[in-house]
């Protein structure tokens, strides 16, 4: 009880630090997720036409996925130095696999008959993608984004090791000086942030994708 109360009073006493860290953490996560989406979705679309190219790209991405997040961050340090940029780069690597894989699979699994019908009615390649494939793959793309968001928020904790800042700073320094209140002041908000985003995105998904989900199979 005293630990929790202590944590609250620590947070209250260091509110400015707390706010800065929270903003850094959010900034890092949003940039990483945004870049992950900006790279992953077009990449998935561009490999859609060729199965060999897709297998190649997916294999590379899967290999990246096996590297522990801390190792990616550590590798970014000598190459890109310290601070926000190398942290974001490392986190993008973390965000890419779920976005790319989900988008690719979602797009590929759109019923071939629907694509045929759309083409036969005179839609261009781009129109088929925009009006048919992407809307129908949206649930899969969204799921990939959710996974990526959670991984990025958790992964951003480690950015503290290469001077990226964020809530991870309280954890690393809390461990270093054996200050449990400081440690919890970092750990608990990260957990709440991750869970909150998960719930929020889940809610958004249900609202935005009601039509597609209900639609399902029309055969």
């Amino acid at each position: 009880m005293s630990l929790i109360a202590g944590t609250f009073s620590w947070v209250a006493a260091h509110w400015d630090l707390m706010r800065t860290a929270l903003i850094q953490h959010a900034e890092m996560s949003i940039w990483s997720l945004g870049l992950g989406l900006a790279i992953g979705i077009p990449l998935a679309i561009s490999v859609l036409g060729s199965e060999r190219l897709a297998a190649f790209v997916i294999n590379i991405i899967n290999m990246l996925r096996t590297i522990p997040s801390l190792a990616i961050l550590a590798a970014a340090l000598p190459l890109l130095g310290i601070g926000l940029v190398p942290s974001v780069v490392a986190l993008v690597v973390l965000a890419l696999p779920p976005i790319l894989l989900n988008t690719y699979i979602g797009l590929r699994e759109v019923d071939a008959d629907l694509v045929d019908a759309a083409a036969g009615m005179g839609m261009t390649r781009g129109q088929i993608l925009r009006k048919i494939q992407i809307p129908l793959a949206a649930p899969a793309i969204f799921a990939g984004m959710r996974t990526a968001a959670i991984q990025v928020i958790s992964g951003a904790t480690l950015a503290s090791f290469i001077g990226g800042g964020g809530l991870g700073d309280f954890i690393t320094s809390g461990i270093a000086v054996m200050d449990q209140q400081r440690l919890l002041a970092g750990a608990v908000p990260i957990a709440i942030l991750a869970m909150g985003v998960e719930i929020l995105l889940g809610f958004a998904e249900r609202r935005l994708l009601r039509n597609v989900r209900e639609g399902g199979d029309t055969r």
Binding site: A119, G122, M123, G215
Partner: protein, 314 residues
């Protein structure tokens, strides 16, 4: 009018072509049923008309215009297209589905809305009830109607249908075929319909094109095909009961004589000779009365008239 001139399609450099030098002219406003065993090239032939498959050789004319050099996207917006699995877009309402091509063509919203209601009424779905329904809430037959409405949306002169009744259960299928025949008669399109069901081809087609191994074997009216199959293959394909099948293509009214016969079974005017024959065999009577829509007897058909008629035709 659709004219195919020496259309050939080869997939891959070697081997037999899937479609081999097919020449065919489909008159304006008629329905042509393309039929043949699987792998005969009927679907490929149809898909070359809207360039979903590019022909390896030959030319295609639609309303006199050579379309082999046209931009495929522009061409396809002028051709109605109904695929086997209907292919309604599951994330769009019935209205959005039907409005697809008009939307691509840049029609005004008001014009599209009006057209959607017109088409829903045409295919027998109440506009108020069905406009904003999602496809998965529709029955198979309703989906098929929406599919046809969608293909008709921009009033294309030509319509392609790939096994349009394939996904419908057999009981609903026959009723839907009858209704579609009426609808298609009203809209007067040049229609190419791929089917593997001979009865469907004979019923829906003003003309039937029979294909085998990429070649067009016979292109004629159902009656001509049943009366005079071009070769042994067509003869086997249409089956040994072709004389009976011919009877189902004819209306009883042509064989009718004036006057009503006492104690005879009755049949509706417009029914086929085959139905009349079935009624005669079933009841053991020698004549059947033909009744008009208002219930009055128009005349009667005798067993001899049917058999003589079949004789004369055979």
């Amino acid at each position: 009018m659709i004219r195919l001139e020496g259309i050939t399609k080869r997939f891959g450099a070697v081997g037999k072509p899937s479609v081999d030098d097919v020449t065919i002219e489909m008159p304006e406003g008629t329905t042509t049923a393309l039929i043949g065993p699987s792998g005969c090239g009927k679907t490929t032939t149809m898909r070359m008309i809207n360039r979903m498959v590019e022909p390896s050789a030959g030319r295609i004319f639609i309303e006199g215009q050579d379309v082999t050099g046209l931009d495929p996207v522009t061409l396809r917006r002028r051709i109605g297209y109904v695929i086997q699995q209907i292919g309604l877009f599951p994330h769009m309402t019935v209205a959005e589905n039907i409005g697809t091509v008009p939307h691509l063509l840049g029609w005004s919203r008001a014009k599209i809305e009006k057209r959607i209601d017109e088409l829903l009424a045409l295919v027998g779905l109440e506009p108020e009830r069905f406009r904003s329904v999602m496809p998965h809430r529709l029955s198979g037959g309703q989906r098929q109607r929406v599919g046809v409405a969608r293909a008709l949306a921009a009033d294309p002169p030509v319509m392609l249908m790939d096994e349009p009744f394939g996904a419908i259960d057999p009981i609903a299928r026959e009723r839907l075929q009858d209704e579609f025949k009426e609808i298609l008669k009203r809209v007067r399109k040049t229609i190419v319909m791929v089917t593997h069901d001979l009865d469907e081809a004979m019923k829906m087609g003003d003309r039937v094109a029979i294909m085998r191994e990429g070649r067009l074997i016979q292109y004629a009216t159902p009656d001509e095909i049943l009366a005079a199959p071009a070769d042994a293959f067509v003869e086997a394909f249409v089956g040994p009961d072709r004389a009976l099948k011919r009877l189902s293509l004819r209306g009883v009214d042509a064989l009718m004589r004036p006057g009503s016969v006492a104690d005879a079974p009755t049949i509706a005017s417009g029914a086929s000779v085959r139905e009349a024959l079935a009624r005669l065999i079933g009841s053991g009577a020698r004549s059947v009365n033909v009744r008009g829509a208002d219930g009055a007897v128009l005349g009667h058909v005798t067993r001899d008239a049917i058999l003589d008629g079949a004789d004369a035709a055979a």
